[in-house]
């Protein structure tokens, strides 16, 4: 029972595939060689194309409700029960709005920039394992594929900003590209630690490496000194890569209005949002795969819950984390942004690599915890603490409206 529930989507796919084959046989059509792999691929990809945009719709409402709660207001509360159908209203609005293109804009690039963004955002899902046996393409270099495709989106952001022929758009694009290039280094290097330990770039094998339970805690990499630091750095870098608050300088409503997508309206504007949220889910999924044990259950007793449910539960938890950060932290200044990347994150990930190597070569036992942990904590004390030490600004006081 547990087994079949766990594999329900895999079984469904095989059932549909054999059904299609039988249909062809019944119609007495000999399928060409390329047909069956193609159908199999479509059956693997169609759920991705349906589930994640649906999650996007839900997340927009959850985010606005969550931010509303954090900022002491209601958030959307008019459409549907508790405003939960707001996404439908927003979607219809985006479709029927006029699509304005500036007269001076570079028409071709203005059009393909959001398309490329959405395509790259969708493509990275191909290598993410959502559950046991649930990965669209099990690439040997899956992690590299993820980052390579993600890197292509930077060019799309630049295209959007440059082709709009608007100084705010160009400023936003320059900021976005500078930020994405800077934070890509800690993002990639923090995952390199995992590659060093597991010795593989295949995401399914990385998940398998975390499937055992040793003692109380599962063998997830987040429960090691280097893994914990790596996960923290990964999430910060992911947040910056997504241009989300507190790293939303490229969009900075109060300075450059909306940054690189200022000249987009209607559905193209919605595409920018879609790609941002899809990338958020994808990066969260990668973080889960690398550090949070992928689709593995935290305790052996909980194995009866299907693997895909664990993946999506973790995904929702990380989405909550993103919303929480957005509602809590104020936007950074440009110099603070670059200082954080080059003076803290990059030295820190390099030390983290050494910590991972120590962990690997010390062998099991308390020594590895001590050596690797001491290195990570020491590096943080040296690099991070002096930078983040808050200046004395006095006791915080609250003033409530009467």
């Amino acid at each position: 029972m547990t087994e079949s529930l766990d594999q329900i989507f895999v079984t469904l796919k095989h059932w549909l595939l054999s059904g299609f084959e039988n249909l062809l046989k019944w119609l007495e059509v000999a399928p060409p060689d390329w047909l069956m792999p193609l159908v199999s691929m479509v059956l693997s990809l169609a759920p991705i194309l349906m589930v994640f945009p649906a999650l996007f719709a839900i997340t927009t409402v959850l985010e606005r409700k969550g931010l509303g709660r954090i900022q002491n207001r209601y958030g959307p509360n008019r459409v549907g029960p508790f405003g939960f159908l707001q996404f439908a209203a927003d979607g219809i609005k985006a479709i029927i709005k006029e699509d304005l293109v500036p007269r001076a804009a570079d028409k071709i690039f203005h059009f393909i920039a959001p398309v490329i963004l959405v395509i790259t955002a969708f493509t990275v899902y191909a290598v993410l394992p959502f559950g046991r046996n649930m990965v669209a393409v099990d690439l040997d270099a899956g992690l590299l594929f993820f980052f390579a495709v993600g890197a292509a989106s930077e060019l799309a952001v630049f295209m959007a900003g440059w082709s709009s022929r608007n100084k705010y758009a160009l400023l936003g694009a320059m900021r976005a590209v500078a930020q994405m290039v800077s934070y890509e280094i800690p993002l990639i290097l923090s995952s390199v630690a995992v590659v060093m330990i597991t010795g593989t770039l295949s995401l399914t094998k990385i998940v398998e490496a975390q499937s055992t339970h040793a003692g109380l805690l599962p063998d997830w990499f987040v429960f090691t000194p280097w893994g914990f630091m790596g996960f923290a750095l990964f999430m910060i870098a992911a947040n910056a890569e997504l241009n989300r608050s507190p790293f939303d300088l490229p969009e900075g409503e109060s300075e450059i209005i909306a940054g690189y997508f200022i000249e987009y309206s209607g559905f193209k504007f919605a595409l920018f949002f879609l790609s941002e949220y899809l990338s958020m889910f994808a990066l969260s999924g990668l973080g889960i795969t690398l550090f949070l044990g992928g689709w593995n259950a935290p305790f052996a007793v909980l194995d009866f819950i299907p693997s895909w449910a664990w993946f999506f539960a973790k995904l929702l938890a990380l989405i909550f984390l993103f919303i929480w950060t957005r509602g809590t932290l104020p936007r950074l200044r440009q110099d603070q942004l670059m200082n954080l990347a080059w003076k803290f994150m990059i030295p820190m990930v390099l030390v983290n690599l050494v910590a991972a190597a120590l962990w690997h070569f010390t062998g099991p036992g308390w020594m590895r915890w001590l050596s690797s942990g001491a290195l990570v904590v020491g590096a943080y004390m040296l690099l991070g603490k002096p930078q983040f030490e808050s200046k004395d600004i006095g006791k915080r006081t609250y003033r409530f409206a009467d």
């Binding site: 040997d140 590299l144 890197a151 292509a152 590209v177």
Partner: protein, 164 residues
Amino acid sequence: MTLPFAIIAVLIVAAASAAMTLRNLVHSALAVAVAFGGLALAYLYLDAQFVGLAQILVYVGAVAILIVFAVLLTRGGEAPEKSIFSATWFWGLLITVAVFATLAWCVMHSFASKREPADKVEVTVKQIGDALMTKFVLPLEVIGLLLTAALIGAVIIAMREEKK
């Protein structure tokens, strides 16, 4: 020659010639990015997963961005008014064709082209990593040193000069 290879080859050549002939420099830079992507496709088509993906990561993700930034920071990105070709383009073309013909002739008659193609081997990323860390560790370290020197040089150039 197979059909996928022909498509990829046409894509690369078209993008590369677009990069040369387009009037707007930013368009040229983006065409170069397409050519880089086409090369990556060629590598992937030859089953060289690691090289292909690294090509996208490094060239499309970093080098193309660098070119675009350089163009934007040095000139306005406006299309030039007059012709972008130099007056001696005919002689340039002639020399290029001659050089290409010589190189092509050499390659066609070389020892390497007469060799039997090796059996198809599955190269995993792990094998590449092992080779880099054992057989090719010296070149790797030299490149690392070179890049570190370049990084420090960039920081020195970017640093604000202290007034004496």
